[in-house]
């Protein structure tokens, strides 16, 4: 980016070093930071966080098109255990047992042998739950990053600077939702060309900043995934959040997710 100005350190001599630390200690310790205008800053300051995501579990059919679309759109490494989004199937029996599965992260749907698994159970209730990064308002992953490689944009999207990430994986441990993974060291398909670094769903930052819906939303055949701008009162998501009772995952942890769920059941986590 043009116009980057580095903070300049003014150093005294060896004798003055102690005084320098004392008087400028703070500025020497805070991260080397650059002040310049990003995408979000170039717009007028927005009130709060304008984007939100809604997953409707009463509509999801578990086809896995979202997972496939995400892998293609974002060059996510093809293995099932490196995924930015996935679909879970919940099966709750009359006896109150809860079974959950997500074969291959749901990319190939739920038909086939896995379907046989629950035969013979007295099913009381069963449904699909799409999962992705919740873009928490209070993100634990951002807090724990030792080098400030993962950060939140002004619009509230959490991104990873993969050119800075050291690959310590503290953020993966800190995410309560399992939304983060490490790009395998020898991966051929990578989101940004960087391997050995943390990656996660960006809500398709390159799409939403252009006014497009995230790839998974575009690919969902039944409208189970919705994305919208809360500043626009005519927006579907704004309406859903106004008119329907919605729930967030693991709300008790205080992460304040911005992905909301319709039709969530106790025990979904």
């Amino acid at each position: 980016m043009a116009g980057i100005t580095r903070r300049q350190f003014v150093l005294g001599g060896a004798a003055a070093a102690g005084a320098v630390v004392a008087s400028r200690g703070y500025s020497l310790i805070v991260p080397t930071q650059v002040a310049s205008k990003g995408l979000s800053q170039s717009e007028e300051p927005s009130a709060g966080h304008p984007w939100a995501f809604v997953c409707d579990t009463t509509r999801c059919i578990g086809c896995g098109r979202c997972v496939a679309a995400c892998k293609a759109e974002n060059r996510v490494p093809p293995e099932p255990h490196t995924t930015r989004t996935w679909v879970e199937r919940y099966v709750i029996t009359q006896r109150g047992e809860v079974f959950v599965d997500s074969p291959e992260a749901g990319i190939n749907g739920f038909s086939g042998p896995a379907n046989v698994k629950y035969e013979g159970l007295e099913v009381k209730k069963t449904f699909f739950v799409p999962k992705l990064c919740n873009q928490c308002e209070n993100p634990p992953c951002v807090r724990v990053c030792p080098v400030a490689a993962t950060y939140m944009t002004r619009e509230g999207v959490v991104l990873v600077d993969q050119e800075a990430c050291v690959g310590c994986r503290y953020c993966i441990q800190a995410c309560p939702y399992g939304a983060r993974y490490m790009v395998p060291p020898h991966a051929e398909v990578t989101p940004t060309g960087q391997t050995g670094v943390a990656d996660k769903c960006t809500w398709c930052y390159h799409r939403i900043t252009k006014g497009l819906a995230p790839a998974c939303v575009e690919a969902c055949p039944v409208g189970a995934r919705m994305f919208g701008d809360l500043r626009d009162p005519s927006d579907t998501v704004a309406k859903v959040l106004k008119e329907q009772r919605v729930y967030v995952l693991k709300g008790e942890l205080g992460t304040r997710p911005k992905a909301y769920y319709i039709g969530l059941e106790e025990g979904v986590r």
């Binding site: 059919i61 930052y205 055949p221």
Partner: protein, 194 residues
């Protein structure tokens, strides 16, 4: 006490070295050689935002495929974006790469195979009994999926008859038991094809 002064001087030099190490000439060098990245979130935001869009919207497809678009927007599949079946179309638009669409039964079954976890109102078929093992598109037009072919229908790509019309199976059209064992060649002697 000289040793304390010397030690302090050494310590001072160490601190100075550390400060120099953190100063721009050194960090610039480190950044150029890939050991360090300046904390520049704004620039990184722009990087993420400028990744290529792969999955296109139906409005883009409409530019060329108007007939298909008109059929699709009136059909039961109107909620299904073009790219959901045809795949991301960026390369197709940019350099005319062919878009291969999966026409297998398995692909349609991803959505339409009967499953207890699916909302009951969603159209689902029993893959074992519905339409034999013929591909779904033999009878269903993906851009007008709700109805099978108008009868009488052509035999193009639909031969032999018992691929779909299986004795004892209700859908798509049950054959009376008396017809059991009759080979396809004999069907058109009585039933007219288009």
């Amino acid at each position: 006490m000289t040793h304390f002064i010397r030690a302090a001087a050494l310590l001072g030099m160490l601190v100075l070295a550390f400060l120099l190490f953190r100063s721009p000439p050194s960090t610039n060098l480190l950044a150029r050689s890939g050991f360090f990245q300046v904390n520049n979130q704004a620039a990184n935001e722009v990087k993420w935002a400028s990744l290529p869009v792969g999955l296109l919207q139906p409005s883009t497809c409409q530019d060329c495929h108007q007939q298909e678009y008109r059929a699709w927007e009136k059909s039961a599949h109107q909620s299904v974006s073009c790219v959901s079946c045809h795949g991301p179309a960026r390369e197709h638009v940019e350099d005319g790469a062919r878009l291969a669409v999966d026409q297998s039964r398995e692909f349609c079954e991803l959505c339409h195979a009967q499953q207890v976890s699916r909302p009951s109102k969603f159209p689902q078929i029993d893959p074992d009994s519905h339409g034999g093992q013929t591909t779904c598109v033999t009878c269903h037009d993906p851009r007008a999926p709700k109805f099978g072919p108008r009868v009488p229908h052509s035999l193009d790509g639909r031969y032999p008859c018992e691929g779909c019309h299986i004795p004892g199976v209700k859908e798509p059209l049950e054959i009376p038991d008396s017809h059991a064992g009759r080979p396809s060649e004999t069907c058109t002697q009585c039933h007219q094809a288009k």
